[in-house]
């Protein structure tokens, strides 16, 4: 969310400590030694059950836990790998499903690119690109029914896309014409949260309210690797565990919080964090749309059954800058980037489709076309976004206007009127 004002010299990036590449035969492995906590991954029981809870969470036979090596279904070269835990959640995946996911990811990428272009052309103040995180966001959002409610950060436009948010609605906040682009209740998704981590509490509270009403809706808190350090996120885990709230914590570990590598936020995999709060956790390859989709289903089913909160860490990578104001060459190098470009989530699904013998060329053309159409429509819609009237400043401060504010509004109106022909405020 931050502006960086000038370009500068390239720094040598700090080491990427503990995120071994999702098992990629080509890529060098990070750390070989398994974390001790991985021991718990072995057994056929939930990742962190409470030994002494009077009414223990039902132990899901299909949730074995995985907190070190990310779970993967699609290898980088597009081959499908057997994954005992996730496979049962992928039985319904056919070519049509894969094509739909491919189109989702492609179109949101085209929209994201268009937003970057619009920012460069001065149509937006700022834009936080999601390039590289399409699988994490689409895999998550497409795995959940509409009634579930998202509380996200500012980069989850892939989620918004799945929720039917109009692309121009996504951009309006960044154009500065509004503070919220859409109706949270209509889309069952809160509008972007800028204060890092604050929304995690909201998700927990919402989930508690659903449970209290006996509804099966779950809430999803989306946040980044950097957010893991904020006190609010830890507190949200405390509340969720204590009240067994039906909430899914979804952390997109894209390896950076602006310039800070994830190793600064944690010396162990982020997926270990929730275990100490009594919340089971899975680490999943966030560039593998099928793995994310399957893990989300697994988690959601468990949560919906009344077993309490769960945590997913999607290991992914932000291929672009933090925002359009950022200059990532100052803190990471081309080699690292190249390694992750090779793991591009869209490329991976493309390779998989190719291996399956699906009509990929046709699909690519369709994706390009839909992407271009969406981008063109977005460009027009952004230009047409209404600029609020000055009086809108004073609306919705409270649910009713108080006299002090009415007075200020009248002052502004009078001033604008008095200046009307001459010019406007400096």
């Amino acid at each position: 969310m931050s502006t960086t004002m000038s370009a500068g010299s390239t720094r040598s990036p700090r080491d990427e400590h503990h995120d071994p590449a999702p098992s990629d035969p080509a890529a060098p492995r990070g750390a070989a030694a398994p974390h001790p906590a991985a021991a718990r991954s072995a057994g056929p029981r939930s990742a962190a059950p409470d030994p002494a809870e009077p009414d223990p969470a039902p132990s899901h036979p299909d949730l074995a836990g995985a907190v070190d090596q990310p779970l993967q279904v699609l290898a980088v070269d597009g081959t499908r790998r057997p994954e005992a835990q996730l496979d049962p959640c992928l039985r319904d995946v056919d070519e049509a499903q894969l094509a739909a996911l491919f189109l989702d990811m492609s179109v949101i990428r085209a929209l994201d690119d268009e937003a970057v272009a619009l920012q460069r052309q001065g149509e937006l103040g700022l834009w936080p690109p999601l390039r590289g995180q399409e699988a994490a966001q689409i895999g998550l959002a497409r795995a959940l029914p509409e009634r579930d409610f998202f509380f996200t950060s500012y980069r989850e436009n892939g989620v918004a896309w799945c929720r039917g948010v109009e692309p121009a609605e996504m951009l309006s906040v960044w154009r500065g014409t509004t503070l919220s682009g859409w109706d949270p209740f209509a889309r069952r998704m809160a509008t972007p949260q800028v204060i890092i981590g604050a929304q995690t509490h909201h998700a927990v509270g919402y989930a508690m309210a659903m449970a209290a009403r006996g509804q099966e809706d779950i809430a999803i808190a989306c946040f980044g690797d950097g957010a893991m350090s904020q006190g609010d996120v830890s507190e949200a885990m405390v509340f969720a565990a204590s009240f067994r709230a039906p909430v899914l914590f979804f952390c997109q570990n894209n390896h950076y919080a602006i310039s800070e590598p994830v190793a600064l936020q944690s010396t162990v995999p982020l997926s270990h964090r929730p275990l100490g709060f009594g919340i089971p956790s899975l680490r999943v390859d966030g560039n593998d749309v099928l793995a994310v989709r399957a893990a989300t289903r697994l988690a959601a089913e468990r949560i919906r059954s009344g077993a309490g909160p769960m945590f997913l860490e999607a290991v992914t990578y932000r291929l672009g800058p933090h925002t359009t104001s950022d200059d990532p060459t100052r803190y990471r190098d081309e080699t690292e980037l190249e390694r992750w470009r090779e793991r591009d989530p869209i490329l991976r699904l493309d390779r998989h489709l190719e291996r399956l013998g699906a009509p990929v060329a046709q699909l690519r053309t369709e994706a390009d076309e839909r992407g271009r159409e969406a981008a063109d429509a977005l460009r027009d819609a952004v230009a047409a976004l209404p600029v609020p009237a000055p009086e809108a400043l004073f609306e919705h401060v409270l649910t009713s206007e108080h006299p002090g504010l009415a007075r200020q509004r009248e002052q502004l109106t009078a001033l604008e009127a008095s200046l009307a022909p001459a010019g406007s405020a400096s």
Partner: protein
Amino acid sequence: MTTMTMAAALNAALADALAADEDVLLIGEDIGTLGGVFRITDGLQDRFGAERVIDAPLAESGIVGTSVGMAYAGRRPVCEIQFDGFVFPAFDQLVAQVARLHYRTGGRVRMPLVIRIPFGGGIGAVEHHSESPEAFFAHTPGLRVVTVADPQDACSTMRAAIACDDPVILLEPKRRYWGKGEVDTSLTADLDSARVLRRGRDATLVAYGPLVVTALEAAAAAEDDGIDLEVIDLRSLAPLDRDTVAASVRRTGRLVVAHEASGTVSLSSEVITCVIEDCFEHLEAAPERVTGYDVPYPPAALEDHHLPGIDRILDAVDRTLGRRSSREAA
């Protein structure tokens, strides 16, 4: 009408709200089994269950933030912050979320939270148990900041705060919890208005919360000196009922504002500035403020010197009336 303490009046108002509306819930530290450290929620968990009267983990940001999420889902949480000094961990959720969500979402999301905070000093407590944080909240657009002064007022205001669709910071003067009064629990206050508690000619004395009782005592003492004070209980600190204050000052020409919080950038600065804006030409003397000094809340042994008492208030009244005062003596 029954005679009850302010604590009992608040308890009654909470109980009625819980009974009347399924969406109302209470959340805070030790409010359930224990009934709150001041017993304001005594018996309510037994009556309404642990899902309506929730003992929360020890984290104020969590209490407020969780309540925000509940409000998204249509509930009406009443949060207890155990003591004034413990509200700061929740500050971000209060000023960046609770206060703004209605504005941020163009009116789509409502935040009908009540944040109950026992506030103020005078009980001989250790650090962080005697604070007056109202200025922080009154400066924050999007919050209502309301104080109560006596049992009836406490009950009626609590009812109004819970019914209100805006977030309300409700400041309860802890040293007045055990004061008694007649209460009709069916009344509901008007959250927007100050109350003129005593009519007078010579000067307007504005107070709120714990100092309302002190102000009335000062007025009684002044009467013996032949000074006729008008006493206003501000009640709502944000939005401020500046019209009631201005109307009074137009008649008296003189103003004294008293509160426990430090004076710099405070409610008294604001009330005085409003009066200057509204009726400068009616002022016959410079308004005076009588406040806690610009120091952190001191150890209990010094709090009587720190807190505005009758003497300091009357000294300020003397100054506005042009009588010899200790300040000139200094």
